[in-house]
């Protein structure tokens, strides 16, 4: 039973998994602009840019998830990423486990 729900949990986790963590996001952009920017490297599945509901500003960092690993590699082919005059700081998130992804038929 524990194992079964662990399987489920792992499935959820892997879906939550993002590819890239982006810091120093300028305040002017929203996830729409981020998605647009990163779309040049591949198909962006998800972009999560958390906002502080208490101030109305976002927290200057976001997570990006691409459809394929190739997209991610494309992003890191580029030396620096500048969005609206601000230099973004990118960090690749730990590798997704392919085997897990296969398990969930999405």
């Amino acid at each position: 039973m524990a194992a079964a729900s662990a399987v489920r949990e792992a499935g959820r986790r892997s879906r939550r998994l993002f590819d890239i963590f982006v810091a120093d996001v300028p305040w002017t952009v929203s996830s729409k602009e981020l998605k647009e920017y990163f779309s040049q490297f591949g198909s962006v599945q998800r972009c999560q840019l958390p906002f502080d509901k208490d101030t109305g500003f976002h927290r200057r960092y976001c997570w990006i998830k691409f459809s394929t690993l190739q997209d991610v590699q494309n992003v890191f082919q580029k030396d620096s990423h500048i969005l609206e005059g601000a230099k973004l700081t990118l960090k690749q998130q730990s590798r997704r486990r392919r085997s897990q992804r296969k398990n969930q038929s999405e």
Partner: protein, 1352 residues
């Protein structure tokens, strides 16, 4: 008892026997505990000690000092960092440090000094008067807090005065110092001279100079510099200039201060030539002049109104990187004093210092915004900065400043400018403004922002509405109405999406449905609101709404805009819906999901196979395999995909059967069809038929069909057939293997039926055929073993375990532990112990030890206890054995024995073990045990007492028991323990939260500390919060996630259970209760929660459970709530359960009054139960005497029978109604007891059986009745009948009286009544006091009938 005593004796022997074996760092080597501890703590912790005595009396002072040193360092670091990096201190930082220091309560001398010193030139962004005010505020506040001022403080204040050019009386200042008995020193005098000189008061300065000379104090450069200024300001420039030669004569060389002073006075006079001359002279003689000084001169020129000379000075400054902070401060100061243009000029000199194309001038723009610079000015700066390529996006930057400073007007203006310049404007720019207005509850502001954004052609997006607009209103509908009313309703897709999302996320599915079905809703892809909808589904139990919404999504093309179409979209939605539910949620909603699937099926909704199989996997992992059958209804089967509508499984089977027969008849191959048929039958769970088909077409059966059949047989417990099939088709020696799940199913069913050898063979085969083993398989192994252990089947457990382990299929501690569990289940302690030892020998693990110890102590089995102790001490040493014994004695409440164990000389504290047990106590809310642990370890060598008390406080916190916490505080003092900061903080927290005064200084908590001490509580608080907000589901989800990681407070369990029950989540509540019970010994629900539990159980028809809960409550002295009793009683009655009703009656006998349940309730219920059992005579026999005696005995009166009558009437039990009617009339006519007959009348009236009502009573009865009539009944009808009765009786006076009463009560009579009344009055020759309805009597009768018909 005797056995226990004797065992205690034996145990003492055990301890004694263990003694000599302990290594001897014993008693002699052990210093007296308190002193050693305090020394240790003094070094380690910077806390205030409580009252201490004797030799350790000095310690608190040293601790206070250390703490202050530390705090001073902290504050100093912050301010110092700021000064070093930027040459200034932001006002907010200064205030923050100030408040922090205030919070600690006792400011140190150097802290105060630090704060005072910061109130001058280090605050360039603040105007001078405000800075002085700040200094005074700090001065007074610190004094109030007990700061003692010495000369250094007065001097610091003087410096601030000078820097701020604050006018004050130096003599008064001296007098104040004298008053405070503080001696002025040289610095004081120097600064007082400077103060006089600032005012051009040479006489005053000379007076002070005289003091200094009298005291033989040296006259320094600073004094001469002041005198330069003094003379100049008194108008005597000559003397001022002369001071330099005086200095030299006195042997003091003029330095930078002197030159600055001279340059400043020239600047004040606007004497550019002299400045130039002086500068050149200095350059000649000194060779340099500091750029910093030049910058000061610039400020002086600006202040004095000579900006024209600034450029010349500026050119002399080498703007290098090192100068940036000073230049920035000059700019800021200039802005503060209103010289923003000069400031901007300086700023532009920094142009060449730009690095990496970074934007320059942010500090400038920000300060401009803070100082409320006019928009035009800002605009000008922005465009110039841009032109100079110093800043790439100045307008967005000032927008951000305006938003951060909550300057909405400016922000809006800036956005307008941005639009003019063609810069993009985005919806989220409005969010800080909306947040600001939301905090102020300023709806007007919100509307304004929306309007402006609309004017600026920014399409307000969904997030804006859901996160920042709707929150201000009760729901999205109200929001819409208000937006419309205030002219800011802009119909966009974003708004529609927001409405759907918002209503869905708040669980208002009915609103979602109406939004989705509304014709005005634009096309929206389901993905836009899928997540919110999932949330909504999860918080609702309304299967009908689920289905309706799903149907809309499926059939309304507006919601499925993108390929591949609704099938895919809805399938995806369903998958995610189920995926987002926790296992227990799925389990709790199993029945609802089933209905949901069936309804979807009825709506002809199908989903793709991939999603369907994903859903099946989820359902399987959530342990609801039964639901898979139902989910299957939705699967889009390829074979039937022609019209996208699958036929039901049934027709599937029969179609296949026909097909099969046809093929057979035609002599065509049938294997495929046969396989399909077998699968279809398996899906239908029709084992009988499947086996028949198999038997009939045996030669054509293929492997896959057999495998499905085997699984089916296992599911249906048909072990024989399963094994037959298996042996036949998948014999051991065949290379073909079943999949893991089917093997497991076989092992399970074989184990259950005692076919151990077969089960072992299957396991062996699994190994031989190399079947893949996953975590899930291992979990299944555990399930199988544990089931056998619970059944007490030792051999099964042992042999299966042995096989599993020996074959190397799995090997985990949990699996091993079942070897011991089985003996514990059977209460066979020798065997359990042997299993424990074997486990250790074979697998190197000690399992279930604490349980075994406790069980042995409870049983008083000293021999075995000795044995297990011997074993542990042999393997792990005496110390471990003693701890195990100690904990077991504590756990079982044998504190005396525990004390003996822990006082074994030489025993040392083992923090890890102590922590293990303490945490166990905390999580299971065993306060007494924990207290004993703390108490008994008091003299344990090296025991961290603070830590032990911290555990106690943690439990106090969990229970919100401030009284106990306060006692702990006293104990801490009594024991002379110096608590750590975190302990004090926790204690303070408990007291504060419970509204108590904190009797000590609360230490300032560092961030990390708070975090670490509350990590475990964060989630728990969240759970409580969510419960409070009625979001029990989410709370439950968090709870499940937390399971295992953390244990919960006693109270949190209760809160969560209550919240779940309130939302009718019985299963979840029971799960939490179960967990609570396993974690907390003697966990019981309180009265309210138990009552809710009863209600929930009644709702689900778990009446037996409900009765048990009620009994438990009463046994433990809790009284149930009225609704709980009523619900249970009435439901038992409905079921005709006389036995339980009788039991209930007995149980409640004494408390009916106190809980406000009327005596009639049970009587009605019992009568109804008889009725339900078709025993009307019994009902009447039971009820009638009660009603008769009730009339005479008002104390325990059973008077009304309305409930009974209502029930029988509602359910159309006509004979019963008649029988009770007869009884009621009999009671009225024979005994003058009118209440029953009144009830009957009322029942007739409310059931609209007016004729029956009329036939029942005469006028006088209706009259009494009218007094009894409840509000909600139709008064008109009642009065109409009363009047009608009087008419029939010919009682004119009464008729008239009633009419007056009707008029007085403002009851509208029907025209029919008026017509009838008029006819009556005319007949008896009375005047008609109203206009007689003109039509005929018949007309009104018709009209009346029609109305009745329409109404019904």
């Amino acid at each position: 008892m005797a056995a226990l005593l004797s065992s205690a004796g034996r145990l003492r022997a055990l301890c004694l026997r263990l003694l000599p074996r302990l290594r001897p760092p014993a008693t002699a080597a052990r210093p007296p505990a308190p002193a050693s501890r305090n020394i240790m703590y003094q070094i380690r912790f910077l806390t205030v000690a409580p009252q201490q005595e004797g030799s350790v009396k000095e310690e608190p002072i040293s601790e206070i000092q250390t703490r202050r040193t530390w705090q001073f360092d902290w504050a100093l670091n912050k301010l110092d960092n700021s000064v070093r990096k930027t040459g200034r201190i932001p006002k907010t930082l200064l205030l923050k440090v100030f408040h922090e220091i205030c919070k600690t309560g006792c400011p140190g001398s150097n802290q105060t000094l630090l704060l005072l010193r910061s109130c001058g030139a280090l605050l360039p962004e603040v105007l001078s008067p405000e800075r002085t005010e700040l200094a005074h505020m700090i001065w007074d506040k610190m004094k109030e807090l007990g700061a003692v001022y010495d000369t250094s403080h007065y001097n610091a204040l003087l410096k601030v005065y000078l820097q701020n050019e604050h006018k004050f009386s130096p003599t008064e200042f001296l007098a104040r110092m004298e008053e405070a008995n503080v001696q002025p020193n040289r610095v004081t005098y120097q600064r007082l001279i400077a103060a006089y000189c600032n005012e051009g008061d040479i006489e005053g300065a000379s007076k002070i100079l005289g003091f200094m000379k009298n005291k033989d104090l040296p006259i320094t450069e600073a004094v001469f510099s002041s005198l330069v200024k003094g003379h100049a300001r008194s108008g005597d420039m000559k003397s001022a200039e002369n001071i330099l030669s005086v200095m030299r004569m006195a042997g003091v060389e003029p330095g930078p201060d002197t030159y600055l002073s001279l340059l400043n006075v020239y600047a004040e006079k606007g004497d550019a030539d002299s400045i130039k001359k002086t500068l050149e002279e200095v350059e000649k003689t000194e060779g340099y002049l500091m750029d910093r000084i030049l910058m000061q001169v610039i400020f002086s020129l600006a202040k004095a109104g000579y900006p024209q000379y600034i450029e010349d000075i500026k050119e002399r400054i080498r703007f290098e990187r090192e100068l940036i902070p000073d230049a920035m401060n000059l700019c800021l100061t200039l802005i503060t004093h209103g010289f923003e243009d000069i400031s901007f000029h300086i700023l532009k000199s920094l142009n060449h210092l730009s690095r990496d194309n970074m934007d320059q001038g942010n500090f400038f723009l920000q300060h401009c915004v803070n100082r409320d610079m006019p928009v035009n000015k800002l605009k000008q700066f922005c465009s110039e900065l841009k032109e100079a390529k110093m800043h790439s996006a100045p307008l967005p930057f000032i927008l951000r400043c305006a938003l951060e400073a909550n300057k909405s007007a400016l922000a809006i203006d800036v956005m307008k400018m941005m639009k003019e310049e063609g810069l993009p404007l985005r919806p989220h720019y409005s969010w800080p403004l909306l947040v600001g207005f939301q905090k102020e509850k300023n709806l007007k502001g919100i509307f304004e922002v929306l309007k402006v954004m609309h004017e600026l052609e920014v399409e307000i997006d969904t997030e804006t509405y859901t996160d920042y607009v709707f929150k201000n209103f009760a729901d999205s509908e109200t929001a819409r109405a208000q937006l419309k009313k205030n002219d800011c309703l802009f119909e966009t897709v974003g708004l529609s999406v927001a409405e759907i999302r918002y209503e869905a996320a708040h669980g208002r599915l009915n609103n979602v449905l109406s939004l989705l079905s509304s014709a005005s809703t634009p096309p929206i892809d389901i993905r836009q609101f899928r997540n919110s909808l999932i949330l909504g589904f999860k918080s609702s139990n309304d299967v009908h709404l689920w289905s309706k919404i799903t149907e809309l999504l499926y059939k309304d093309e507006r919601y499925c805009l993108t390929p591949p179409g609704p099938t895919e979209a809805v399938g995806y939605f369903l998958y995610h819906l189920i995926d987002s539910m926790s296992d227990s949620e799925v389990q709790a909603k199993e029945e609802r999901l089933r209905q949901y699937f069936h309804q979807l099926k009825k709506m002809n909704i199908v989903i793709p196979t991939t999603h369907y199989s994903g859903i099946c996997r989820l359902l399987d992992s959530s342990q609801v395999p039964e639901l898979i059958k139902d989910a299957r209804l939705l699967s889009l089967k390829k074979t039937l995909s022609t019209d996208n509508i699958p036929e039901s499984a049934k027709s599937d089977v029969s179609a296949l059967e026909k097909k099969l027969e046809k093929r057979k008849a035609e002599n065509q191959p049938i294997t495929d069809v046969l396989k399909q048929l077998i699968h279809a039958l398996c899906e239908e769970e029709n084992m009988q038929k499947a086996l028949e088909v198999k038997a009939k077409y045996e030669p054509d059966m293929v492997v896959g069909g057999y495998a499905a059949l085997i699984n089916l047989c296992c599911r249906h417990d048909n072990v024989e057939e399963a094994m037959n099939l298996k042996e036949k088709v998948f014999p051991k020696n065949s290379p073909v293997a079943l999949d893991t799940g089917k093997y497991i199913a076989l092992v399970e069913v074989l184990g259950k039926h005692g076919r151990l050898q077969d089960a072992i063979n299957i396991l062996t085969e699994m190994k031989e055929k190399d079947v893949p083993i996953s975590d899930r398989t291992v979990a299944s192994f555990f399930r199988i073993l544990n089931a056998a252990a619970t059944r007490g089947e030792v051999e099964t457990v042992n042999r299966l375990h042995e096989t599993i382990v020996n074959l190397g299929l799995a090997e985990t501690a949990v699996l091993h532990s079942t070897l011991i569990t089985v003996h514990l289940e059977k209460d066979d302690m020798p065997a359990a112990l042997e299993a424990l030892i074997n486990c250790y020998k074979k697998y190197g693990k000690i399992l279930q030890l604490h349980n075994i110890y406790c069980r042995l102590i409870e049983k008083g089995d000293a021999d075995l206890l000795q044995k297990v102790s011997d074993f542990i001490s042999r393997e792990y040493g005496d110390m471990m054995a003693l701890y195990d014994l100690f904990f077991a004695f504590l756990q079982t409440g044998k504190y005396k024995e525990a004390r003996k164990v822990i006082e074994t000389p030489g025993l040392r504290a083992h923090s890890g073990r102590l922590q293990w047990f303490a945490k166990k106590c905390i999580s299971s809310n065993q306060m007494e045990t924990l207290e004993q642990l703390v108490e008994l370890t008091q003299n344990l060598f090296e025991c961290d007492r603070d830590e032990m008390y911290y555990y106690l406080l943690q439990l106090c916190e969990n229970n919100g028991d401030w009284g106990k916490a306060e006692a702990v505080w006293t104990k801490i003092q009594e024991e002379n323990v110096v608590p750590r900061e975190k302990t004090l903080t926790l204690l303070a927290d408990i007291l504060e939260k419970n509204g108590q005064v904190v009797p000590f200084e609360v230490p300032k908590v560092r961030h990390e500390d708070t975090r670490s001490l509350s990590t475990s509580n964060v989630e728990e608080r969240k759970i409580r919060m969510l419960c409070k907000k009625n979001n029990a589901k989410e709370a439950y989800n968090i709870f499940l996630k937390m399971q295992g990681k953390n244990e919960f407070h006693y109270r949190s369990y209760g809160t969560l259970i209550k919240a779940l029950l309130t939302q009718n989540c019985l299963e979840e509540a029971m799960e939490v209760k179960h967990i609570a019970e396993t974690h907390i010994k003697g966990f019981t629900l309180n009265s309210a929660a138990s009552s809710l539990l009863i209600i929930s159980q009644v709702r689900r028809d778990y009446l037996k459970d409900a009765m048990a809960v009620l009994k438990g409550m009463l046994d433990s002295g809790l009284s149930p709530t009225r609704p709980a009793v009523i619900a249970l009683t009435q439901t038992l009655a409905e079921k005709g359960d006389l036995k339980n009703l009788q039991a209930l009656k007995n149980m409640l006998e004494d408390i009916t009054k106190s809980i406000g349940v009327s005596a009639s309730l049970i009587a009605n219920a019992i009568a109804l139960a008889h009725t339900k059992n078709n025993d009307l005579d019994a009902a009447v026999e039971y009820l009638e005497p009660l009603l008769i005696s009730g009339a005479q005995n008002p104390d325990q009166a059973v008077r009304n029978i309305s409930y009974l009558l209502r029930k029988v009437s509602e359910e159309g039990l006509e004979p019963a109604l008649e029988k009770f009617g007869v009884m009621a009339e009999r009671l009225a006519s024979q005994f003058g007891i009118y209440r029953p007959v009144t009830d009957l009348f009322l029942q007739y009236v409310s059931a609209d059986r007016v004729d029956d009502a009329r036939s029942l009573i005469e006028a006088k009865k209706i009259k009494t009745l009218l007094e009894l009539i409840p509000e909600h009944l139709d008064m008109e009808i009642a009065y109409r009948y009363l009047m009608r009765c009087y008419e029939l009786d010919g009682d004119v006076a009464s008729v008239k009286a009633v009419y007056e009463k009707i008029k007085a009560k403002n009851i509208q009579l029907h025209e029919l009544s008026l017509k009838s009344l008029a006819a009556f009055l005319k007949k008896v020759g009375e005047p008609v006091p109203f206009t007689e309805p003109p039509e005929t009597f018949k007309f009104y009768v018709e009209k009346w009938r029609k109305r009745r018909l329409e109404a019904s």
